[in-house]
């Protein structure tokens, strides 16, 4: 485990999430306790339906947990109004989704600047240039999403997540729709931004290779945090998964 002096970026305590009522009740999260360190790249793994996306949505303030608390930095999410949550996402959180990350009407550059425009902030030109060069999109800035490949679209989404210097970026299966080469590219960028920009990233994935790019992997099963490994390799992740499913 990577130890840092800085306080943790995200802390979840006794997080539970129940969907539906009565017979249709689904316990998606059953008391999850987890901490994500600042400046670390953490992967959340688990079989399909284990509650990875639910956990991420609750951590990111997209959904409210049934019980338990979530802290983003020093802010506790429990009890925040929709408006407060929205402003929190705007200021402190970046997102990369599996698909449909970009607004089709906007160009790549406009999509990248979107979070800044929404919060009416000025772009940090140095950071902007650096981010654009990091993801290698300089010659694609005027293109619209339909004119970009899937990998390029995900890179735009990454650039967009980085540009507002969020406290944490949540990525839900960011490589799920990509071929392995583009996927590897994206994962390298994620790791680079953690190493070089000090960005905190939490990534949901079910791909052991992807998880191996992270500093640390936490494993979910049936809504519970089962185990975690530090400095993972594809093999160690796979071994852990096999053990989990056994």
């Amino acid at each position: 485990m990577t130890l840092t002096q800085a306080p943790p970026a995200v802390v979840a305590t006794n997080l539970t999430k129940v969907y539906g009522h009565g017979d249709a009740e689904v316990h998606a999260l059953r008391g999850v306790n987890v901490t994500f360190a600042t400046g670390a790249f953490t992967a959340i793994m688990g079989p399909s339906g284990s509650g990875k996306s639910t956990l991420m949505h609750c951590l990111a303030g997209l959904d409210t947990a049934t019980s338990g608390t979530v802290h983003i930095g020093d802010v506790e999410l429990t009890g925040l109004t929709d408006r407060q949550l929205t402003l929190l996402r705007r200021e402190r959180i970046g997102f990369v989704f599996q698909a449909f990350n970009l607004l089709p009407t906007l160009t790549a550059e406009q999509n990248i600047r979107l979070p800044l425009d929404i919060s009416a902030r000025q772009a940090d030109q140095v950071l902007l240039d650096r981010v654009i060069d990091t993801v290698g999109l300089r010659d694609r800035l005027a293109h619209r999403p339909t004119e970009l490949s899937g990998g390029q679209q995900q890179r735009v989404a990454m650039a967009r997540a980085l540009i507002s210097k969020p406290q944490v970026i949540f990525a839900d299966e960011p490589t799920g729709n990509l071929d392995s080469r583009s996927g590897a590219e994206i994962l390298s960028f994620l790791r680079t931004s953690v190493r070089e920009l000090g960005q905190t990233i939490v990534m949901v994935t079910h791909d052991p290779v992807a998880a191996a790019y992270a500093d640390r992997v936490v494993f979910l099963r049936d809504g519970e945090l089962i185990t975690e490994i530090a400095a993972p390799t594809p093999q160690s992740v796979l071994d852990t998964l096999v053990k989990l499913e056994a």
Binding site: L62, T86, L87, R89, F100, L103, I118, T146
Partner: protein
């Protein structure tokens, strides 16, 4: 396929509801119009049938202005089988109101009220005059308006303007006779009616009797100058005549219904188009598992059939309700229409309503259904729907330019190449309008982008990201946006056209009024018959409060075989002299208006021969030719003294009075009223009153038309709401993404409001431009000597209201979009 169609309907029932509403309103309006007409016509029939039952044969003069003599009545009475025959008198006899002035702008009609089985008068209170020659009855409305009650004494003028007093014994209902309802009725015994009107004969002879071939026998007795009808024929004719206005009104209302249906068709076309686009994958899947193109096409058409039928059926119910409501309102306002017949939904109305709704819905769905058949099976396998990229085909441009040129050319020809004021001119201009509108319809998708950028310029800057995205979104799917806005454009175009037309009519009429009526007061007799005694003007002349008093006398005569008015004047006139000079006309001299001079082929120095009452045919030398446009003088003007030697001291035809500047109007009005108090038939008109009455009529008409167009606008707003809610549905994931990135709920709502605002404004702006241009063209086509007036504030108001209405239409879709959970939306595949 039936099952998939039904499933499709179920799945989209909310979205189809708005569409159905458009059809329901359109069909409701049309059906309502029919129900209203049917009910009122039935009312007319009921009334006349009851009356006509009493008459077995009716005899009318062949010439509508002619009369039947007493001799004919006697001859008919002698016909075998005739038990009774009565002549009916129906001639003008002015009623004098409580103010001592004759009532209304036309004289009241005096009718004879017969007794016995042939009495068709509907006395609603009191009794008929019976045999009392000193008794009279009035129609309810006149009595009410003039505040006469049974037992009062009323004054009626005879043919020589002498006053006669009668005791008011009862009130009658003029029934279906629109003419009588308009003039008002005073009923007398036959003898009194004869004495009061000096009638030379009867307008109708009613016959009762029982014999085979009675009609032929009566016809033989009546002779060649008469038309003979059975009671049933008479009833049918009366009902027909009475219902004429209602039928005209029905046709007018149906035109508004047609506009509403056209707008509804656009809304349906758009809805089905969007639904088909959204169901591309579903269609493709059907094709994958083996559905043929025909089956896909059929399932969409089937959906439209169900929607059309269900909506039309509800529309019929709405129509029935609307008609019942309209009848209740009309009844409450004491309108001169029978509103008491049973309100029924005739089979014809049901058939027409269903057919119109069904045909419009299905036709509007045909194109979308066809595009559904073009979906290829592989589309089922694609995950993301490609963003619409719109390219303008060459053909589109060619057609648009052709239509535009044809439309503008036709309109231009109508405006500049045809005589104004004639129906064909207006038809040509409106045809040009329709062609131009088609051009706009074709070009709509091309126009949407630049227009939305222009209209959205301010919102995009004012509202940050939501504003910018909204403006982008509004033009994102140009075809869809164009169809949505064109629906609104139709309504706004017509509104603007009507408001330009009414404002221009107002100004044109005012200008003409100022030219023709350049005075403060005008005195003339009711219906311009008889004259104003000379003493009236003489008494007013020289009063210090008055600036001028002009008397004009005239009488019809024959000049060199043609009919003209000849006359004279006393007072100051400044006619526009075209040639010659008009300084004091002495005996044997005449001034001619230009058109008369032209028709007679004479110029200054020539002589014309005019027939006179006292001096036979006199030769008159033309000393001046005057401009005849809006002249207060007659065609031939001679000197005042000579005129009296030609005709026997005629009274003034009109007296025109101008107030001295600074004198209060009430003071002079009282003075002028006092001067005519002793002459009941002399009526006072003031230019402000005439203008006021005209304005009132015009305003009323404008309000009614605007109200009726409101329906089309309402339907187009449903269209905007529909398009937006469908777009919201389409962009669920986009909205979720924006929310995740930090767009607040109010911002998301605002985004949709701005999109609707932009759509509304585009529709309104195009409508205002089209309406302005064709309003101008219509003014030029309809009014001779038109003065164009563009009611800018009103038009600005239309634009603002359209924008506001668009925002209103966005309220529900925006609420839905903002309420959606982010996580749920992100999850939807």
């Amino acid at each position: 396929m039936l099952r998939t169609a039904v499933a499709g309907l179920r799945a989209h029932r909310l979205r189809l509801l708005l569409t159905s509403l458009a059809i329901m309103l359109g069909v409701g309006f049309i059906a309502g119009t029919f129900v209203l007409n049917d009910t009122i016509q039935a009312g007319f029939s009921q009334r006349v049938t009851a009356d006509a039952g009493k008459v077995d044969v009716a005899v009318l003069p062949k010439d509508p202005d002619g009369v039947l003599s007493e001799k004919i009545v006697e001859r008919i009475r002698a016909v075998e089988g005739v038990t009774e025959a009565q002549g009916l008198i129906r001639e003008p006899a002015p009623l004098v109101g409580k103010d001592g002035k004759v009532v209304g702008s036309v004289p009241t009609t005096a009718v004879s009220i017969v007794r016995g089985p042939l009495d068709r008068t509907a006395i609603v209170s009191g009794s008929g005059p019976g045999t009392d020659d000193q008794a009279a009855v009035l129609d309810e409305n006149t009595a009410k308006a003039q505040k006469f009650q049974i037992g009062d004494t009323i004054t009626v003028l005879d043919g020589k303007q002498a006053e006669h007093r009668f005791k008011l014994v009862g009130l009658l209902d003029p029934g279906v006779d629109q003419q009588l309802a308009y003039t008002g009725v005073v009923g007398f015994t036959t003898a009194t009616a004869q004495r009061m009107t000096g009638a030379k004969g009867y307008r109708e002879i009613d016959v009762a009797g029982q014999a085979a071939g009675l009609k032929q026998a009566v016809a033989a007795a009546a002779g060649g100058g008469a038309v003979v009808k059975t009671g049933d024929e008479l009833a049918a004719d009366l009902a027909d005549a009475a219902g004429f206005e209602m039928r005209t009104l029905t046709v007018g209302l149906l035109m508004f219904g047609a506009v509403a249906m056209m707008v509804a068709a656009l809304v349906i076309y758009n809805t089905f188009g969007i639904l088909v686009a959204q169901r591309t994958r579903e269609m493709a899947l059907l094709r994958c598992i083996g559905a043929t193109r025909g089956q896909v096409f059929g399932s969409i058409v089937l959906e439209s059939v169900v929607v059309g039928l269900v909506a039309s059926a509800f529309g019929l119910v709405i129509g029935y309700g609307l008609a019942a409501l309209a009848l209740a309102v009309l009844g409450a306002f004491d309108v001169q229409l029978p509103t008491d017949a049973a309100v029924t939904l005739a089979p014809a109305t049901i058939a027409i309503g269903l057919a119109v709704g069904l045909v419009v819905t299905v036709c509007a769905a045909l194109l979308p259904a066809r595009s559904a058949t073009r979906v290829r099976p592989v589309a089922a396998l694609r995950t993301q729907v490609a963003e619409q990229t719109y390219r303008t085909g060459v053909m589109r441009w060619v057609f648009a330019v052709l239509f535009l040129l044809a439309g503008m050319g036709t309109t231009g020809f109508g405006v500049w190449g045809m005589p104004p004021g004639e129906p064909p001119t207006l038809i040509v201009v409106m045809a040009g309008g329709a062609l131009t509108f088609l051009a706009v319809l074709i070009l709509g998708p091309v126009l949407v982008k630049p227009l939305s950028a222009a209209v959205g310029w301010i919102p995009a800057r004012l509202f940050g990201v939501p504003g910018r995205l909204a403006v982008d979104n509004s033009a994102r799917n140009p075809t869809r946006a164009a169809t949505t806005t064109v629906a609104l454009t139709i309504g706004v175009t017509l509104m603007t056209l009507i408001s330009v037309l009414s404002a221009s009519t107002r100004v044109t009429v005012w200008t003409k009024l100022d030219e023709q009526f350049p005075v403060d007061y005008m005195l003339a007799t009711q219906g311009r018959e008889g004259g104003v005694p000379r003493s009236v003007a003489e008494g007013l002349r020289g009063k210090p409060e008055l600036a001028s008093v002009l008397q004009v006398r005239k009488t019809p005569t024959k000049v060199d075989g043609r009919s003209y008015d000849i006359g004279t004047y006393r007072g100051a006139v400044t006619p526009e002299v075209v040639s010659g000079a008009m300084a004091g006309l002495s005996a044997g001299e005449v001034a001619l208006l230009d058109y008369a001079a032209k028709e007679l082929g004479v110029t200054v120095g020539d002589t014309v021969r005019a027939r006179t009452d006292l001096a036979g045919t006199v030769p008159l030398r033309v000393v001046a030719v005057l401009n005849g446009t809006n002249s207060t003088l007659p065609a031939l003007t001679v000197g005042e003294q000579p005129f009296d030697t030609y005709f026997d001291r005629l009274p003034d035809s009109v007296v025109m009075i101008n107030i001295r500047d600074g004198v209060p109007a009430e003071q002079t009005r009282a003075m002028v009223e006092a001067a005519i108090a002793a002459h009941p038939t002399v009526q006072l008109a003031s230019s402000t009153e005439i203008r006021g009455q005209f304005d009132e009529t015009l305003d009323m008409l404008f309000m009614i038309i605007t109200g009726l167009l409101g329906l089309a606008i309402l339907i187009s707003l449903l269209g905007i709401a529909n398009t937006l809610s469908l777009s919201v549905h389409e962009r669920t994931r986009e909205s979720a993404l924006l929310r995740a990135l930090g767009l607040t709920r109010p911002q998301l709502r605002r985004m949709l409001s701005i999109e609707a605002l932009v759509l509304g404004l585009i529709g309104a702006l195009v409508g205002v431009v089209l309406g302005g241009v064709f309003g101008w063209a219509a003014v030029m086509a309809m009014l001779d000597g038109a003065v164009l007036s563009v009611p800018v504030p009103q038009i600005v108001l239309f634009v603002v209201l359209s924008g506001a209405a668009g925002v209103l239409a966005a309220v529900l879709p925006a609420r839905r979009a903002a309420r959606a959970s982010i996580v749920g939306a992100l999850a939807t595949g």
